[in-house]
């Protein structure tokens, strides 16, 4: 069983929809959670960064962490075609341990007109 599980998709939604992307994990020591967005033939870019449980909002994006369920989510409101990309979750147990980052395999999202 992988330490971080992520549905590969593809997930296809119409423009304007609310999108929910999710990751589950097995290591209860994980405390730092990130979401990266990767456009086709590009490197990942950091989208959201959260520590421990709770919600964090940035514009149309909301990151949610439920440590009791070992479940994290990224919500995208009013989705746009420019949101079409692969979304990777990543997590680690301590700051200062970037080499111990564990990535999900990514969910491909397509937002259609």
């Amino acid at each position: 069983q992988k330490e971080v599980e992520q549905d590969p998709g593809p997930l296809s939604v119409p423009e304007g929809a609310i999108v929910s992307l999710n990751c589950t994990y097995s290591n209860s020591a994980f405390q730092y959670f990130m979401w990266y967005r990767q456009y086709s033939r590009k490197g990942p870019e950091l989208l959201m960064y959260t520590y421990s449980s709770g919600n964090k909002e940035d514009g149309r994006f909301t990151a949610q962490v439920d440590k009791s369920s070992k479940y994290i989510s990224l919500f995208i409101r009013d989705s746009q075609p420019s949101d079409s990309a692969t979304y990777l979750c990543a997590m680690t147990s301590n700051t200062g341990t970037a080499s111990k980052l564990t990535f999900g395999t990514g969910t491909r999202l397509q937002v259609t007109l």
Binding site: R41, G43, L46, G96, T97
Partner: protein, 116 residues
Amino acid sequence: DVKVTQSSRYLVKRTGEKVFLECVQDMDHENMFWYRQDPGLGLRLIYFSYDVKMKEKGDIPEGYSVSREKKERFSLILESASTNQTSMYLCASSRGAGTGVSEKLFFGSGTQLSVL
């Protein structure tokens, strides 16, 4: 605009060739990383470096080596390329431990390497 620059977007090499992948960052970051990305397997860490002339093995170092002679530059070397090293290679950098943000990685655009 901060940047991690990888020297090549696409490379085609033959089996047995020595391959150099170059990465330069302009953010004065202490940490640099090399990952490979394969469908269904996600990102896997090959090597990383926390300082100049320092290197540590990641999860899949076999068949690779690295060099970090200057803070801004981190090179990945395939000593004798093989077909199973065909992949997307991603370089990343981050600030050092103690800054509280060392796990925030900045990635380059990647090098798609094909070994024939």
